[in-house]
Symmetry: C2
Subunit: 260 residues, 2 copies
């Protein structure tokens, strides 16, 4: 299995605190040694950092814990390989361009007997995860050749995720930079931080932050993670089949696909 | 104007020496302060590092000068903005997936009145460079829906580059990880290093390397750059209209488009 990290915020926010917690699980406090990646949206651009080595030992991860990239949407992933070798091409998150936007996707889980129809987008690596991402984009492109708001895509996204779920475990994060979509089949936790902000203590490292010193009263920041990253805050645990759409830190739509 | 860096090698090779020279030109020995990027192929994977700041001051660039990523194909770029704001979305190199391969492109120059036909691939940013890359991929995809060897693509690449050239300056590098294509309309220099290897001294920094200590007798490494990066070696200067196809460090095809 792998672990996911997502962030949606209404102001460009650095994710160093959460990232530091996640990176420990990549070989130190967790077994996810088979690569890691983080994608940061900045305006219409997307920065993707990946390393097919344990994040706790990664030079790139160390640099990111010093360099405070500010972003409104972040998707991160640490990998414990199930399907596909340990290689850069199999390292999440994956990205593709659709409608002149960079789309980004990461997956925690495993799909069995998953052979989606060929389409425009093709997987570069060997993972079921990248195959699912390409299939999802092919469906979106077929049904929406031109840009459409997230709300219009939701029925398609929910139906597709419901199908993937019948093949195994499918916790995922998807974004085009404007919004962040999450789907949970087994494990996904979330916290929305807003005023009054308080202190937070990482579970996986001796690191505390006082968000009062880092924020303004209007900031709203949602963090999603496979397991809660702090031990002094109340995280919401998503239910199997639960999907959510996040925009600027807020949950703007959510629902639940019935158990299959 | 901008500056390009390319590498093609028959063995995974680190490009730290050349990169260190190029990074100086991003604000220290040259005026290219408006962002930089480097893409490294590793197997089928592609790592793209970008920073929309001067490379001489960039945290990411400093990390790359310590972290020896080994690759058979590299494309790098430092930007002096002409068209489009200074932003991540306008920072080269650009990448897209075609045929289940990551393609990568960087451009030095400027195209006037360039409005290519809409196609599958769309630009995310505002640069003429990304528009040309998308147009090139749209042409390839239209004519070659399935993977084709570089040699079959050459007539299309040469024709398209010849067209772009009528719009302005079009020095470029293009790769799908298997080969590297270069096109020169004004400035491109190249050196192919092979046994017997010798010492090299950067022009832009107090840095010397003795390639004898870093190589084996069978290594062949070609480096391309807008301006020669070393001052004690004989670089070949490409002529206007000259195109070349590089594979595993060797030039496997080349020619020249007549002046327009």
């Amino acid at each position: 299995m792998c672990e996911l990290l997502g962030m949606s915020a209404n102001v460009p926010t650095d994710v160093v605190f959460s990232l530091t917690g996640l990176m420990q699980r990549g070989g130190r406090t967790g077994p996810h040694r088979d690569g890691w990646g983080v994608a940061f949206y900045e305006g219409r651009g997307l920065r993707l950092f990946q390393d097919p080595v344990a994040s706790c030992d990664s030079e790139v991860a160390k640099m990111l814990q010093r360099y405070q990239i500010k972003s409104e949407v972040v998707i991160g992933h640490i990998r414990h390989a199930n399907v596909g070798t340990v290689s850069l091409a199999n390292t999440h998150p994956f990205t593709r361009e659709l409608w002149g936007q960079y789309w980004c996707f990461a997956h925690n889980g495993q799909l069995a007997d998953f052979y989606p129809a060929e389409g425009f987008y093709r997987a570069v690596g060997e993972t079921d995860s990248e195959a699912a991402f390409c299939d999802l984009l092919n469906r979106i492109r077929d049904q929406f050749p031109s840009p459409a708001p997230a709300e219009s895509l939701l029925p398609l996204l929910i139906e597709a995720c419901g199908e993937y779920r019948t093949r195994g475990v499918f916790n995922c994060l998807l974004s085009n930079g404007e919004w962040l979509f999450s789907f949970c089949t087994t494990k996904l936790a979330q916290i929305t931080r807003r005023a009054p902000f308080g202190p937070a203590q990482l579970r996986d490292a001796e690191l505390k932050v006082d968000f009062r010193a880092e924020t303004t009263p209007d900031d709203v920041v949602t963090v999603l993670a496979t397991e809660p990253l702090t031990d002094n805050e109340a995280w919401d645990l998503h239910a199997p089949g639960q999907w959510s759409l996040w925009r600027l830190g807020h949950c703007v739509a959510s629902g639940q696909v019935p158990a299959c």
